[in-house]
């Protein structure tokens, strides 16, 4: 089936259930798939994403690890060299830095440096982003660190349906992939208004998830909302915050959920910006050298003569993620509204 079809066996899932289902489907299909990480085994993960997998597939394929992210990724490289297809979990994206050398210098470079003799077909799952009062060590969005590295793919889903289809595609992919899961929307979409009651995924069309196998190709963006007034490039949690803000403003924006940052769907971006003539980029990560800077440069290089206003960026601030001032930091509806107003003021 394609990514636009809905299977007859689709059921309501939140993002965690969809991720769990993707892991289950892939472990069932491919005996080389192994799941490893801190607390992922018996307990099923601190966010429950791996719940039930150890019981079903055994400890040789789903196991807890020591608390050393360097070791987790290094071991996954070795398992990949053996012929397995590891899916390590880094408990929070904020914990990924001890593994950076194994990711950047090893996993990402292995195919190149060995001219294809050895590959690192791993998918590193990790919850990222703020909005859950996680403080500075449970809230970061480090995707820009990985998009800067040659040889690694970066994938970020925004819906349960996409989370499952993209995770399956990432696991099947023979290149190392960072799969960042926006933990603020694990249990429901988020409109950016922290002071309103949170919603769950119930009734959301993108939470109807087939129970079996399907994949969404890496490198293909999703038009989350078609429109004419301006193009908004975003991913993860911000897709929902943007959609809600745009609806509140009554603006006919085209919202592009990038889904994959590397490889990027440049064709979808180019077509949209050339159509609307306006471009806003929204991400939660810090601003300077963030992925928005890359998007801005690409749009400028390819769509300059179609642009009717300067490109705007809405991002987190260049500070650590504060605990008590989380919602002052978060690029919420006010910041997005101001940027849209500025772009469209002429």
């Amino acid at each position: 089936m394609t990514d636009t079809q809905t299977a007859a066996d689709a059921v309501q899932m939140n993002m965690i259930q969809a991720i769990n289902s993707a892991l289950d489907v892939m472990m069932e299909r491919d005996p080389d798939v192994v799941v490893m990480g801190e607390d992922v085994g018996y307990f099923g993960g601190v966010f429950r994403a791996t719940a039930g997998l150890q019981k079903k597939y055994g400890k040789n394929r789903v196991f807890d690890t020591p608390i050393t992210e360097c070791g987790i990724i290094g071991v996954a490289v070795g398992m990949g060299a053996y012929g397995l297809r590891p899916v390590p979990e880094i408990q929070f994206a904020d914990y990924i830095y001890p593994a950076l050398d194994q990711l950047v210098s090893e996993a990402a470079r292995l195919r190149y440096r060995s001219a294809g003799e050895f590959i690192a077909p791993m998918t590193v799952r990790s919850p990222f982003g703020g909005g859950i009062f996680g403080g500075q060590t449970h809230s970061q969005s480090p995707e820009g660190i990985f998009t800067h590295v040659s040889g690694i793919k970066t994938v970020i889903p925004a819906t349960p349906y996409d989370a499952k289809g993209l995770l399956i595609a990432a696991i099947e992919d023979n290149d190392p992939t960072i799969f960042f899961e926006p933990k603020r929307i694990y249990n429901g979409p988020f409109d950016g208004h922290y002071d309103r009651p949170s919603r769950n995924w119930g009734g959301h069309p993108d939470a109807q998830v087939p129970q079996g196998y399907y994949r969404i190709p890496l490198g293909k963006a999703r038009i989350a909302r078609a429109g004419e007034a301006l193009t908004i490039l975003c991913y993860g949690t911000m897709v929902h915050v943007v959609a809600s803000t745009v609806a509140e403003m009554g603006i006919d924006a085209e919202i592009i959920d990038l889904r994959t940052l590397v490889p990027l769907d440049i064709e979808a971006i180019e077509a949209s910006v050339k159509k609307t003539g306006h471009c806003l980029i929204v991400h939660e990560a810090t601003r300077t050298s963030g992925f928005g800077a890359e998007l801005s440069a690409l749009v400028q290089e390819r769509c300059f003569y179609h642009l009717e206003a300067p490109i705007e960026r809405v991002t987190g601030f260049d500070t650590p993620y504060p605990h008590s001032l989380e919602w002052a930091y978060f690029p919420g509806p006010i910041r997005i509204r101001d940027a849209i107003t500025k772009i469209l003021k002429d």
Binding site: P66, G71, G74, V75, G78, A81, Y82, R113, K153
Partner: protein, 427 residues
Amino acid sequence: MTDFVSGEHQGRNLPPLTLHVPEPRFRPGDTADFSDVDVPAAGVTPRPDEQASAGAIRDLAYGLVRVLDDEGRAVGPWNPNLADDMLLRMLRSMALTRAFDERMFRAQRQGKTSFYMKCTGEEAVSIAAAHALAYDDMCFPSYRQQGLLIARDWPLIDMMNQIYSNSADRLKGRQLPIMYSVRDAGFFSISGNLTTQWPQAVGWAMASAARGDTRIAATWCGEGSTAEGDFHSACTFASVYRAPVILNIVNNQWAISSFSGFAGGENTTFAARGVGYGIASLRVDGNDALAVYAATRWAADRARSNAGPTLIEHFTYRAEGHSTSDDPGQYRSADEGSAWPLGDPIARLKAHVIGLGIWDEERHAAMDLELANLVKDAARAAEKNGILGHGMHQGFETMFEDVFEDMPWHLKEQLAMALREKKAAGV
């Protein structure tokens, strides 16, 4: 009271603290004297059962397994009692490795490549280990275990093609010379970043165990890079999962210009690092091919019987510079190598086989000549495929291949740019 702004103590009568910054005992101009290095006699170290608990054999992390005595006799419980042809095979591999190193070092000095690293004085560490392992056991080496490939009879010309980054280099000229990758010989791609291969070897061994395979993994690093976090991650994983892996520390005393004291060598042995992890740990005379063989075989048997990992410190000496890029005369005493109490690994094995009556000086000299010619012929053949810096040996497009399995649009665009530049440059 302490004034935290000025740092001055008020009203306290304590001695000032001092910082210990290690200093090697001998620097250029000094006469090296290793008479205080504790070298137990060959044969005195007991050989425990391969199933022994790590805790029961802790002393071995502080001793020194030695088989060859000063007269070249093989003595004691660690004597592997190798057949004559195996002894001569190891001798030949070691001599070939030394001849290869000589030739390639000279090739770098002649401007045929950018870089080279010898393993002179450390040949036994990799070659005896390679012979003690099964051919399909997986090796995760550092950059000084070229002896593994030579012991596994990998064609010299293939190694040289890599060193020259020429048109026959299977790695397409991408890697620094000697950073080989030989999947067919169970030799993992060398990184250049230090000790990253340790957790990878553990992961490979864990996968093998999880699959019910029979193959084990072995990895190597220098004593200096035991300070890397990866070393400790690897030891933790190896211990926790009782991974079938052999963890080798090649303690050759020097990490470029930093002596082993900068990795903690003044305070304990490197084998002792394993004790804290509950890993069986052996300290071995790394210049004694029979001791290295015996220790590796012990560790391999232990791993194969699901008794867990072994850490082996090979006590040896880096007889030459770190690489072609440094002059050891600038930072250490010139006579350290000759004063080294454990001698030269080739000379010691040679004395042993001569003592057995299966070898003699004439045959050895003839072998050295034969190997020098073998290496010379291989080098000439490799040079026909090109040398570094003399012509372009790889197509521009190869620069963009293998970054990913399939080339994404941004690399295709950059490839087009590179090809335009190539045309503009007229190359």
